[in-house]
């Protein structure tokens, strides 16, 4: 058996070229990933500003235990995380703005035909704007207005004062 092994190893012709070990230059890939991260961060920042004052969006992209020099795989994960977060929040914002547009139309309809939107209340939050203003369809003169069908839209005057109305005179 040893004789056989020796013979088979010696059967390899010495003239065969050796395969060189491959060293991958990651610099180009890393540079490209860093650029992609910068671009995605820019888009995410822009989207963040567009969503204001809406709340309920998640902006976190898991960190990689930095500050460190990230590996290629980790850079890819950061990029993918940013991309996924961007997609998710764009979709959420799209859904929100669709509903907000419907609410804006509803306000117009409330103003035109208040009796067809009895007791409906739409706030600034529902149309994606800051502040506490709201549109509320209410009867004029309470119960009498309800019986007579005197409906109107009341527009609130905004947020309550931080310090209240002050002391009574």
């Amino acid at each position: 058996m040893p004789d056989l092994l020796e013979r088979s190893s010696s059967a390899i012709p010495p003239s065969l070229p050796r395969v060189p070990s491959i060293e991958v230059d990651e610099r180009a890939a890393r540079g490209s990933l860093l650029e992609q991260i910068a671009r995605l961060e820019s888009e995410l920042a822009s989207l963040f500003c567009s969503t204001y004052p809406r709340t309920g969006f998640d902006w976190r992209v898991p960190s990689r235990g930095g500050p460190r020099l990230l590996s290629l795989v980790e850079l890819e994960r950061v990029r993918d995380g940013l991309g996924a977060r961007l997609d998710e929040n764009r979709r959420a914002l799209g859904d929100r703005t669709f509903v907000e547009e419907q609410n804006r139309c509803r306000i117009e309809q409330m103003m035109l035909e208040p009796d067809k939107h009895k007791w409906v209340r739409v706030g600034n939050e529902d149309i994606g704007e800051p502040g506490c203003k709201h549109w509320h369809v209410r009867p004029r003169w309470g119960v009498l207005g309800m019986l007579m069908g005197w409906w109107r839209v009341r527009i609130s005057s905004g947020c309550p004062l931080a310090g209240g109305r002050g002391a009574l005179p």
Partner: protein, 220 residues
Amino acid sequence: MTAGIEIERGWIDVELADEFPQLALHLSIVEAVPRRSPPEVRRRLRILSERYTGGKAVNLRQEPIPWAYRVFFRQIGIDPDDRRTPPEEAALERMRSGGFRSRNVLDDALTIAVVETGVSVLALDADQVDGPLGLRLSRDRERLGGGEGRALSARQIVLADASDSLGVLFGDLAEGRGVGGATERMLLVAVQVKGVPEVSVEEALWMVSEVLETGREKRR
């Protein structure tokens, strides 16, 4: 503008410089001691607070310098929505407290610089720094500040002098290396990343130095 201070460059480890060619460390030594802020500085903070509105804070991440720091945070594995960049941290503090609170002249100077320029500056006790300061990756089983400091994870980016790591980049400093009661000279450090113009970094250092000088003439 920088007539009163000299600005030097810190060294950057080859591996880091290769990854981030525009990463730079700007250093300046100022003779100043920690003290209470003079009225001029407190007034300046108040004016700054009034100028700083909610809208500005919301749009901060779209401004070029804060955005550049956000990008750099991402690239080095920090989520800037989890650990805020210095300009955003200052903005958040302004919104939470209703104004920039005066603490002491150094903290106030650093706040003014970061709010005005967007560039973060940190201060070390210059007499506790051994040799030139730079940025490098942490070594195997290295401890922050050497000796009894906390263990650093592998390949963390640290501020280091010739002998030890002095602090984690945009993180905590080693004990005894920051400015304390016994400090007589401060080493101001500003980190420049891609997208941050050099003139803004110099302005930030100059601004800190100028605020540290405020009120000293009267005391003399």
